[in-house]
């Protein structure tokens, strides 16, 4: 069997893996990347990018429908129709171009890629089932970046009309009746998009509210909007399984009563689990953290020169965390002294309105023992929001009571995902409320709400 030697072997070509590879290439280190399915991983193929494209198209459609009904802006349109096949082609076009971009970048930086499934034989050796037959690769460093896959629900296995987010992103028609199991961000993002495209959507959630990872103050505007879009929300409700005829989901309410929810598609979005199948972990002696691989702040596993990054290493399962870890691991392998100081990993729900959280929520800050001051500023009092017709929501700032160091910044509102970067910077720079107060924010922008929220937290609000 041919044996290939390389300095670094990366398994998995998602955002974690491919970014590590590019950075290693830039640093002049011989690198080989093995990917079994698609470059760009979950994120580019069946995650962030296609979901945001679908969300955008759905939003544009809903806006046109809304305009046909109201004439708020003085624009008269006939009721629009959608050619969903064309929408999907457009989405596939974007994914295709970005994927081509990743391949080109890897090549440009001298990274060798190999298509095939990799199984570890020992800590530094992998066997890859490639198109041209099996190959063995030996490396000085191994970076595990195999990501995650949708978690199945035992009572409701994938197949037939029971689908995961991956299938939901490549349907050929808009389902008439869509049931979403799980009101986390993936379920709600997709549920909202399909509701806008015309599906009758029902969301089933075991916890007593949507987006259970966020506090209710933040999620209330999202819940309201879901209601306005006609999405039925069944909280504190469990999915029991398919009905005997296979055409409906049977759910059980807190009180024990059951209900049949007829559905054309049932999207199970209850979370994701690490992808370790066939990776040969049994051949290695890696410390684990539940089903995830345990790492330290340098992304080192319990074995020397075996590194792990991304979704495989647990929460938060976010593409930018995987990328940040990847950049760092590359530099560590190149001999630089680096560690991951996770001051600010923004999390965004691309729901409607969008939700952004960076740093600590008020509740977490209190739990961490901080004495805090917290205040929010509503977009209702923000000029830009008024001009955009996007008055729902607010920016909320949490700071230490004693020295005003900002601990967390959260926001909910239309189109506010982009505010996350300035929030992140503020935390990374160790900003105090006074620092934000002293920074001139352009008028009229949504960003002024961050400025005003900081002023208000100081007790010096001007515009409320």
């Amino acid at each position: 069997m041919p044996e290939i030697r390389t300095k670094v072997l990366i398994i998995g070509g998602g955002p974690g893996g491919y970014v590590t590879a590019i950075r290693l290439g830039q640093l002049g280190i011989a690198t080989m990347l093995v990917e079994r399915a698609w470059l760009g991983g979950t994120c580019l193929n069946v995650g962030c990018i296609p979901s945001k494209a679908l969300i955008h198209a759905a939003e544009a459609f809903e806006q046109a429908v809304h305009q046909a009904g109201t004439d708020r802006y003085g624009i008269r349109v006939e009721r629009p129709s959608i050619d969903f096949g064309r929408t999907m082609e457009w989405k596939d076009g974007i994914v295709g171009r970005l994927k081509g971009g990743v391949a080109a970048l890897l090549k440009k930086h001298g990274v060798k890629t190999l298509a095939g499934h990799a199984t570890m034989l020992d800590g530094k050796t992998a066997r890859v089932e490639s198109d041209t037959g099996p190959q063995v690769i030996k490396a000085e460093h191994v970076v595990l970046a195999t990501g995650s896959v949708p978690a199945p629900l035992t009572a409701l296995p994938f197949g037939g009309r029971v689908i995961s987010s991956s299938e939901a992103l490549s349907l050929s028609d808009v389902p008439q009746r869509l049931v979403v199991v799980g009101a986390g961000y993936i379920g709600l993002e997709l549920g909202t998009a399909f509701a806008k495209l015309g599906s009758k959507v029902t969301v089933v959630e075991a916890e007593d509210r949507i987006l259970p990872a966020y506090d209710t103050e933040l999620t209330r505007p999202v819940a309201r909007r879901l209601g306005a879009l006609g999405v039925e929300m069944l909280a504190a409700t469990r999915a029991r399984g398919l009905s005997p005829d296979g055409e409906a989901l049977v759910v059980e309410f807190a009180g024990g009563t059951e209900r049949r929810l007829p559905a054309d598609k049932i999207l199970v979005a209850i979370g994701r689990r690490p992808c370790t199948e066939g990776l040969g972990l049994d051949q290695l002696d890696l410390g684990m953290d539940g089903a995830f691989i345990r790492i330290d702040e340098r992304c080192a596993t319990s074995m020397r020169n075996v590194w792990a990054i991304g979704d495989l290493t647990g929460e938060p399962m976010l593409a930018h965390r995987a990328m940040a870890q990847g950049e760092m691991v590359a530099e560590i392998i190149a001999g630089q002294r680096r560690a991951f100081d996770k001051v600010a990993i923004p999390a965004i729900c691309f729901t409607d309105p969008e939700v952004v959280t960076v740093g600590l929520s008020p509740e977490k800050a209190r739990k961490a023992g901080h004495e805090i001051r917290v205040a929010s500023f509503p977009f209702q009092a923000n000029g830009r929001a008024l001009t955009l017709g996007a008055e729902e929501g607010f920016v909320r700032v949490t700071a230490r009571a004693d020295n005003h160091l900002i601990l967390g910044i959260d926001a909910v509102g239309q189109g506010i995902a982009e505010l996350s970067a300035a929030f992140g910077l503020a935390l990374e720079m160790g900003a105090r409320l006074e620092d934000i107060a002293g920074t001139i924010h352009a008028h009229p922008t949504l960003g002024e709400a961050f400025h005003e929220a900081s002023l208000r937290t100081l007790g010096e609000a001007l515009h409320i």
Binding site: I348, G383, L386, T439, H443
Partner: protein, 469 residues
């Protein structure tokens, strides 16, 4: 009338004046604000930022409905326009905003005095109400916040019907077939965009050989290309020397700046947008001995004190970029100074935004300025075409450009052309306030997929470490 003596009287209720008044009142000072117009909010809220952005948003939606949806697989018949309803929505947004300031005045106990203020001397303002009645207001401190007005163009008299200023252009009763915008600055391009989107044929005539004077040259070039593709026409290095207004529209005489024959250019509507100048008419500056500079701006010591003790000035009426947020921050700082605090306004870091599509935003220095100052710098430039969110939003035009000191890597300037540029610029602004390096921005974990990742990538590019290009 009630007690007419105050700690502070602010003349002008625009973003500079009303914010200064609110802040002064919050600091425990007995404060009044004199405003000649019927509503508070000044240029910005009544005939500036707010109504222009409302129309920009509406006209953008109109254009999207007409052209932007097909690529997503959305089919819709060509939209119709109800201009009256569009203008009514704009008026409603303005009215909501001015009502908001009324509320803030009440809440903070700022006394509002309606009428035109004239400074008699330090400590005394005479107010003339709309009916001509005069009253005297005394105050320990007077703040001049009288803002700016449209700069007139010689031989092109504004009638606000056919030859309009930005104010008239925010309320045209019908979409003109043709429109000439004189001046390719921010206001001209924004309002020109509004009417082009709604169906007018728009030609922009500019004296200089480039658009967006003062902004980064590369940005201006890109925007000229983009706006041209959208259907806007440009005549650069041309000056308008006269206008004849008749029943069929306006005939402008236009001369090449570099010499050559004058030519006639016709349009239904002409928008004069060659800039704004400080407004101090009837304010009594001369009599009160308050110094102004050769451009008519009230001279201050850099800390808002005029040449007469007890009289302060802020906003468009003094030196610096004519921007609402600059006025506001000066208003806050001026009130704090009056209250005995020691605030500073960082005039080196004032972001500016152009709300065209795509937007343009800038903070700090341009490449041209750095070259002229002989500062060695490095640039990083990342296109939105390589950004996932921009692609997913079908809105991938433009770039992020970062300029950093060649030796220290400290951020010196940033320029963004692209979707939501006006929001993205704040990360740079904040970074510059903190004295951040491009590496600082490049090392921060930016959420995926966001447009802001282009900010990170451009920053990484300064040192050649970009990942996605």
């Amino acid at each position: 009338m009630a007690d007419q003596s105050f700690d502070v009287v602010v003349i002008g209720g625009g973003p500079g004046g009303y914010v200064c008044a609110i802040k002064a009142a919050q600091l425990g000072l007995k404060t009044a604000c004199v405003e000649k117009d019927a509503t508070l909010g000044g240029t910005c809220v009544n005939v500036g930022c707010i109504p222009s952005k409302a129309l920009l948003q509406s006209s953008h939606l109109f254009e999207e409905a007409g052209h932007g949806l097909a690529q997503h697989g959305i089919k819709v018949a060509a939209p119709g326009l109800d201009l009256a309803a569009m203008l009514a929505r704009k008026d409603k947004v303005v009215q909501q905003s001015t009502a908001g300031i009324d509320f803030l005045f009440k809440k903070n106990k700022v006394t509002r005095i309606q009428g035109t203020g004239r400074i008699v001397k330090a400590g005394e303002v005479e107010v003339t109400a709309a009916d001509g009645a005069k009253s005297k207001v005394t105050a320990k401190h007077i703040v001049i916040a009288t803002g700016s007005e449209v700069t007139p163009l010689p031989n092109v008299a504004i009638d606000e019907k056919k030859i309009v200023s930005s104010t008239g252009a925010l309320a045209l009763p019908q979409v003109p077939k043709s429109m000439v915008v004189v001046g390719a600055g921010v206001i001209g391009l924004e309002l020109g965009s509004v009417w082009r989107r709604l169906g007018a044929e728009v030609t922009v005539i500019e004296f200089l050989d480039r658009i967006l004077p003062g902004m980064d040259g590369e940005v201006a070039k890109q925007m000229q290309r983009t706006l041209t593709r959208q259907g806007m026409k440009f005549r650069l290095s041309a000056k308008v020397t006269g206008a004849k207004s008749g029943a069929s529209g306006v005939a402008l005489s236009v001369e090449p700046v570099n010499g050559g024959a004058a030519e006639e250019v016709k349009a239904d509507i002409v928008l004069v947008a060659i800039g704004r100048r400080p407004y101090t008419n009837g304010l009594g500056l001369k009599e009160a001995g308050i110094a102004i500079d050769n451009r008519g701006r009230v001279v201050t010591d850099g800390h808002f004190a005029t040449s007469v003790s007890g009289i302060w000035a802020i906003g468009d009426v003094i030196e610096g970029p004519m921007l609402a947020h600059k006025s506001e921050h000066e208003g806050v700082a001026c009130a704090e100074l009056i209250a005995g605090q020691k605030p500073v306004v960082n005039h080196d870091v004032i972001p500016g935004v152009v709300y065209t599509w795509p937007e343009v935003a800038a903070v700090g220095r341009t490449e041209e300025e750095l070259k002229a100052a002989g500062i060695a710098y490095k640039a990083g430039k990342f296109p939105f075409s390589a950004n996932g969110r921009a692609r997913a939003n079908a809105d991938a035009e433009g770039f992020v450009k970062v300029l950093a000191d060649a030796r220290t890597d400290r951020l010196l300037g940033a320029h963004v052309v692209g979707p939501m540029a006006g929001e993205l610029i704040h990360e740079f602004a904040m970074g510059m306030v903190f004295g951040a390096s491009s590496e600082d921005i490049g090392r921060i974990c930016h959420a995926h997929p966001t447009l802001a990742e282009a900010v990170k990538e451009a920053s990484l590019m300064v040192t050649g470490r970009q990942v996605n290009l």
